[in-house]
Symmetry: D2
Subunit: 314 residues, 4 copies
């Protein structure tokens, strides 16, 4: 097959690119997400694809989005950031552009991208962990994307890691993403600033003294500059990350774990503690091979590239 388009629908931005069968992005376009209007989203996706078709011949479109996607890869059952409920997105976009369209969960798409062209292209079995505001997961097993019976596999962010733990937006308590995500990092950092601890001085300055203005990238930047509290906060997220990965590896047994997402981009301050915690808590570690934990090589393009490639697969 020739060229396909991969579309990454985020809460604020739609990014789309023409991708060849080597996973290279030839050209890319973006568009704001009209997040509260499903029909407008389908139109916006069609528009951006239309612009890309002016310069390239496209055979199919793959769309990645956060949320539950049905097993037929066409309907979004539920999305946390966009007002989709049982939205037949593939059909809506297909009708507008007259091309085959598949929809896939964004972490699944990223997992597939890393598997085909990125950090896991040398293996057959891969676990992708995307650590952003929340945590997403995707797995490839024996060269196939694992979708689950209803298309909703991979909700690793809702693994319960603390019984009776912090309330999660999903309605449960103690979900992993309350401890090992960007949301957790920011919540803890704001707590420290708000409590006025001396060691939070640099964080407080970064946020102009207003805890609520503190963001994840501010913490990351300070950590990279050596601020002890920022490093401790990222290390704490890293520890939870590594401990959760140990549980997932016991269940899924991948050859490689690929870490992506904005938090993972902080690099060593979060990845090193994650690796240590993983090695320490992997069950029966002495008796089984352990996977590598690797950073993403496709970065935030993994989902676009993976979605484009999935559009090639019937």
């Amino acid at each position: 097959m020739g060229l396909t388009v991969g579309v990454d629908v985020g809460g604020t931005k739609i990014a789309a690119g023409v991708v060849d069968d080597a996973g290279e992005i030839l050209v890319e376009e973006t568009e704001p997400t009209p997040a509260t209007d499903p029909a407008a989203i389908a139109t916006a996706i069609a528009d951006v694809v239309g612009r890309l078709r002016q310069s390239h011949e496209i055979e199919a479109v793959g769309i990645g989005a956060a949320g539950f996607v049905d097993a037929k890869r066409s309907t979004i059952l539920f999305a946390p950031n966009i007002s989709w409920t049982a939205e037949p997105l593939a059909g809506q976009v297909g009708a507008r552009i007259g091309l085959p369209v598949v929809v896939e969960n964004d972490a699944n798409a990223a997992a597939w991208g890393e598997f085909q062209f990125g950090a896991g292209k040398d293996v057959d079995d891969l676990l992708m962990i995307a650590v952003g505001t929340g945590i997403g997961g995707g797995y490839v097993t024996e060269d196939r994307l694992y979708r689950g019976a209803f298309g909703t596999a991979g909700e690793v962010g809702h693994l319960r890691v603390v019984p009776g733990g912090i309330r999660c937006g999903c309605g449960s308590y103690g979900c992993w993403e309350q401890y090992a995500s960007g949301r957790a990092l920011v919540r803890e950092a704001r707590d420290r600033v708000a409590s006025g601890l001396a060691e939070a001085a640099a964080l407080s300055t970064a946020a102009d003294g207003d805890a609520e203005r503190l963001t994840g990238p501010m913490v990351t930047k300070l950590a990279q500059a050596g601020d002890p509290l920022a490093r401790e906060l990222l290390a704490e997220v890293g520890r939870w990350l590594g401990e959760g990965i140990a549980s997932l590896v016991a269940v899924l047994d991948p050859a490689v774990v690929v870490l992506g997402g904005g938090v993972a981009e902080a690099g060593d301050p979060v990845v090193a503690p994650a690796r240590t915690a993983f090695a320490r808590t992997l069950p029966a570690a002495a008796h089984r091979p352990a996977p590598d934990i690797r950073p993403t090589t496709l970065g935030n393009r993994a989902g676009m590239i993976g979605a484009a490639d999935l559009a090639r697969t019937p």
Copy 2:
């Protein structure tokens, strides 16, 4: 293919049966397990297969055993109850009997048995949870057994459910099987008897007053007879079971969860609380289809039947 033999190697007993391609066991033999002598085990398996061959023509043998089995289905990397380390069991047995032999993790074999002929024969994606002394797991996804990169997938008993929790034999802390297994049931029941609580009177009598003599079946029997403490203890195991299943379903998204193993055989006193706890803790339950939780229909023959069937698959 015609008939195959399924072998279930337990810590104390080897059970083998001739199984047809409808999953029916035609004849069955057992033999004690010489658990500390790997060569003797291979010989014992060959002997029992030999006896079965006297009456039936056999084309292949499938062996299920607790432990880590390599991805080639031939070597046992490590087993908790038998002194195997990197034991090339398939080759050893094959050499003795001159037939194709495959080895599989026992919970994987049971999952396959239930998928082909038992509680999950109507679905394509199944999660098997075998709750005995510990907890084993096996999954079928899109009609294929999920083995993992190294053959060690399915160690669901070592999902960490309590950070800083009870020490597990695997070296980690807070593993699921420390809370939701027969071992947990017996430990808690013995604690109650040892502490001499009035409500533990029936349990104490069952154990002749000696906490250390109390067994899981005693607790189950008392629960079925209505003893309040025995019911509470099984309900507690059931709650942990259901909560852990909720985490696994978020990750794996099966169409059906099949509960097997000795503890699950207690039936309602453990299964009803498990179902309730599962429904209460499944993340985002309002937005996704939920699998049925069903009891095994093959009982403790699931592993034998599954192993025999796996021997048919190249």
Copy 3:
């Protein structure tokens, strides 16, 4: 000394009574709490005391209120429900009525009332646990009220019982009162109604189908009528209660634990599981005497009676 007045300042109501030195309430008056206006509260207390003085000769006034009270028993450092910050309440009321006034934390006052005239009048060392929306605590040791260095002892509701647990209004995570209080009961009951579980039918009906309208007394009433889910919810609160008491008894070693507050008034559905959980989790129970857990005998008058009596003590 003759008669004193005990005042119980709640978030919505001020209740005051003339109390004799046998702990009998001779007459009682109430008044709404002007909760957002500290000066108006002092005036309202003075008014209600004034009304009581018309019929009885009063020698002193004791005021109990939720919050941190300083060690001199005169200033309220902070209160969760009333807009007091470093409020010199004793002086304000004293100036208006011309009588000696002492202020005391409400759970301390209730502990003292139970110690002098109620469930603990036979012992010298008592732990009072008041389980309402939150959890308050007061202790008497060797016949003296334990106040702590700064007057803020007894914040037992903020014992951390789950590391990384549910966020508490105090800013911390995993505080006991997030699991063993009326707030916890209502939160869990609402979750069940909102998730539409079949077993929540009775609770749902009680709340006219609107989870947010469900209250603690509704749950209690259903539990007393035998509704299984309501009983389970109260039992869960009771378990957490008993487990927390076990920790406190290890630390404080009282002769008696008195349970009061609205949740404890549910009686057996919460108290029986609390006793069982306490007996099971008290450390080294075989080697030490264990206190009785008793229900309050003064009920919601314990604070008023205790405050009146504390006004007698210089």
Copy 4:
């Protein structure tokens, strides 16, 4: 009163000293503990006191020992390290030496020593935390030692900090001393060495490659020399320590927390993380005064000095 003798009965050594009323030790003697023979212990204590009387005139003897001591300060109900059960130690020693004898829990004695002559001599309310193999506690409130109704107050090491946590020798699960003591430090350090992690190289060398030979002082020494893993292990203990102290301060409200015991002697590597964790987790910290956390000033003589002084108090 003139001179008294303070006796500190440990699992391996009896240390006794003549102490004046300023808390100064004039002379000191030691003797091995015949830990399995209660009569021999009484005789050994009498012997060592006899030696001290040759040079000094003694008026009374105070004995501190780990265990539950009854409220009359004479009988040891139970001791973890010595075979005492309901042992009337005061009477046994008194009969041998003809002097008044009182017995006190060792952490209580240390608390009293620090209160009278050490880190808390400027305050009226003190919490002593003695972090050795386990954790002991003692409190002084309004200038009086807090003993509890049965003499068994202060078992702070058995505060439950993790529900379903690590099994404790006391029979419960998740006790504080499983996370914040020397035992926890050594257990974790040995795990790291046994798992052969590269970062455990220095610890492994210190233990001659045998995890079981690793001791707490080895970890402390490496931490003080800057070894990153040793520092992390002590910091982890320090975090648990500070978090537990926050719970205790919410309950007890001391003016000062004194940290003693062998682990606390590691100084900054454990005390700094403890202080940080305490400040972060103290409930409602913005609304209440917080106590200082101070190191012991009497060191391992606090118990001897405190016991001697308690012998002066009828």
